[in-house]
């Protein structure tokens, strides 16, 4: 039972990150290969304050208060998205993909290089964020917080896409040149969406940090970003439910394949290649829906 509960919790968390990525990838057409960075940032936003609270040092940062963790995650994710977005969004196509990858790698190396927070080995914290009336130590409550968060973000995205901003974003994805000629500051709109997307993933990171209590730079590995992209694209871009479906497919695949072999990345990779090769029009055709 607890196995399935954990699986469901992890599913919700990944789905939230996929929802975040879908905002810019699915609705906006911006293919970011670096969104795992925000998951990492969110997780460390829990880990670092908790670490200081447990072991001292940096008193102004030491806390297990969940709202503080969330605030830190939102601020740092938002800033990272803003600063990297300012540069990335001046580029297009594969340049954009590579630059988002590069910045994500930068975040990876940054966390690896900080010895105090475990560097390569990661950070173990044996406490969770404290939120009034809720104990995240209880797996059932952890699940419900994750599940309700997922519902919240899916609803939020639904609202956004029905709004003026959402329409503009879709227009930009469809025909950027036209949108510029219609008078839209496309760069600014993309930047706003980019920051929003990063913040949503950062929130998912907070949940992830709490769920795993082992926070490592591996969360920022670009293979994780690739997995997120896989979820968003296969699940159905530019739809509210799509990221959830994609996350479900990914989790199921991961579970099935890893029960067959610990080397499950190999059949997963082959599957990915097969889908790319044999899907009519390629996966990128799925992107233009």
């Amino acid at each position: 039972m607890s196995f399935y509960l954990d699986l469901a919790t992890r599913l919700c968390i990944l789905a939230i990150a996929a929802v975040g990525l879908n905002l810019i990838l699915g609705y906006g057409g911006m293919i970011s290969f670096g969104h795992a960075a925000y998951l990492g940032i969110g997780a460390y936003a829990v880990g670092i304050p908790a670490h200081h609270w447990l072991y001292g040092g940096l008193d102004f940062l030491a806390t297990t208060n969940g709202f503080m963790h969330i605030t830190i995650a939102i601020v740092i994710s938002g800033l990272f998205a803003l600063l990297t977005g300012l540069i990335c969004l001046k580029t297009k196509g594969v340049y954009f993909i590579m630059i988002t990858m590069a910045f994500s790698q930068m975040a990876y190396y940054l966390f690896v290089s900080i010895e105090e927070y475990g560097g390569d080995d990661g950070l173990v914290i044996n406490t969770r964020s404290e939120i009034p009336l809720i104990s995240l130590d209880d797996p059932i409550q952890m699940f419900f917080v994750s599940f309700l968060s997922l519902i919240f973000f899916m609803w939020l995205i639904h609202l956004i896409t029905k709004s003026n901003f959402g329409l503009i974003l879709k227009g930009i994805k469809d025909n950027e040149a036209r949108m510029i000629s219609l008078g839209y500051n496309v760069y600014l709109h993309k930047l706003i969406a980019f920051v929003f997307s990063g913040i949503i993933c950062g929130f998912a990171g907070v949940l992830l940090g709490n769920f795993m209590t082992f926070i490592s730079p591996e969360m920022i590995d670009w293979a994780r970003s690739g997995e997120l992209m896989f979820m968003v694209i296969l699940g159905g871009v530019a739809t509210v439910m799509g990221p959830l479906f994609g996350a479900i497919v990914f989790i199921i695949l991961e579970e099935i394949l890893s029960s067959i072999t610990i080397y499950w990345h190999l059949p997963f990779g082959l599957l990915l290649i097969a889908v790319v090769l044999f899907f009519k029009g390629g996966l990128s055709s799925l992107l233009s829906k």
């Binding site: 293919i31 290969f33 990297t84 540069i87 001046k90 580029t91 196509g93 594969v94 340049y95 993909i97 590579m98 630059i99 990858m101 590069a102 910045f103 790698q105 930068m106 190396y109 940054l110 690896v112 290089s113 900080i114 010895e115 105090e116 590995d221 670009w222 293979a223 690739g226 992209m229 896989f230 694209i233 080397y263 990345h265 190999l266 997963f268 990779g269 082959l270 599957l271 990915l272 290649i273 790319v276 090769l277 390629g282 996966l283 990128s284 992107l287």
Partner: protein, 307 residues
């Protein structure tokens, strides 16, 4: 100021730069000419290291291993092109990215299965393992000089090939006008296969050169590929010259940053602050440089000419 240390670090930076060039040149050629984004290029670099390691043990000679490994990597590159790259040429870059990402997963896991999780060290023959005095009191490991020499030779060889030979002319022509070149009766398929295999061989060579120093290890491909992308973005996609300049620049900045940034920081910071912040900042240095250069030259230092 310890000039000996500075010189050694400069040479280290050159070494890194030269290796980066070997990897990045194949990447930029394939992207510039075949318009194909190959994330798995780093995995080929890793395969070069591992295959060379295995052959070194079998043949009991590092040099022989390199000699035999190069064509093997070339063949691997050719096969890769045939089965994965070629079907994807007509597709969007996103498909390239996702397809080669899948390839990385496959190759990395296969390498894990074949060679195990630990790295494999490559022993060097004695005559390569020593030091050379290049000046009074300054001794440089022989092998590092060899790497730099090999890398520079490869760089000039490549530049000569692209700019002064018929093959190079076809490559450049194929880059700017594929259909025209095909109409002239040149077999574009073979041309592309050759370019791809060449790029793969250079990456494999880089792996073979670095492995005696750092071991052949599973993560090495993934580490280098992003840096190689940074190099070609900074250098300008499709430009071998750009890749050369950018690779040396990045190699030097990264090496010198890691070596001297804390000393630099100590000038205006406390020792503990310097020692805590320097590793973090130096690890970010090449990305910060990339960001800086992109803000002035969004298409890199030597941008591709319009097709």
């Amino acid at each position: 100021m310890d000039y000996t240390l500075l010189l050694i670090q400069v040479l280290n930076g050159l070494q890194l730069g030269v290796l980066l060039f070997l990897v990045a040149s194949g990447l930029t050629l394939v992207f510039g000419i075949l318009d194909f984004v190959n994330l798995a290029h780093g995995s080929i670099y890793m395969l070069g290291a591992f295959i060379c390691a295995s052959l070194t043990y079998i043949l009991e000679s590092y040099l022989l291993a390199v000699v035999f490994s190069l064509p093997i990597i070339g063949i691997i590159g050719y096969v890769f092109e045939l089965f994965l790259a070629r079907p994807l040429y007509t597709r969007d870059h996103l498909d390239h990215v996702l397809g080669t990402f899948g390839a990385i997963l496959v190759i990395d896991t296969a390498a894990h299965l074949i060679w195990g999780p630990a790295g494999i060290a490559i022993p060097l023959p004695d005559y390569l393992d020593g030091q050379i005095s290049i000046a009074e009191n300054i001794e440089i490991p022989t092998f590092r000089l060899l790497i730099i020499a090999v890398g520079l030779t490869a760089a000039f060889g490549l530049l000569w090939l692209v700019n002064f030979t018929r093959l190079g002319m076809l490559i450049r022509a194929g880059a700017s006008n594929r259909t025209m070149v095909a109409a002239l009766g040149i077999n574009i398929r073979s041309l592309f296969a050759i370019v791809f295999a060449l790029g793969a061989t250079l990456a494999g060579l880089a792996g073979m050169l670095i492995a005696p120093i750092t071991e052949a290890s599973l993560g090495m491909g993934n580490n280098i590929i992003i840096t190689a992308f940074v190099v070609i973005i900074v250098g300008g996609i499709g430009s071998v010259k750009g890749a050369f300049v950018a690779a040396l620049l990045i190699g030097l900045i990264d090496t010198l940053g890691r070596a001297f940034l804390d000393d630099l920081f100590k000038i205006f910071m406390s020792t503990t602050a310097a020692e805590n912040s320097a590793p973090a900042i130096s690890s970010m240095s090449i990305y910060l440089i990339m960001a800086l250069i992109l803000s002035f030259k969004p298409k890199g230092l030597f941008p591709p000419r319009l097709r």
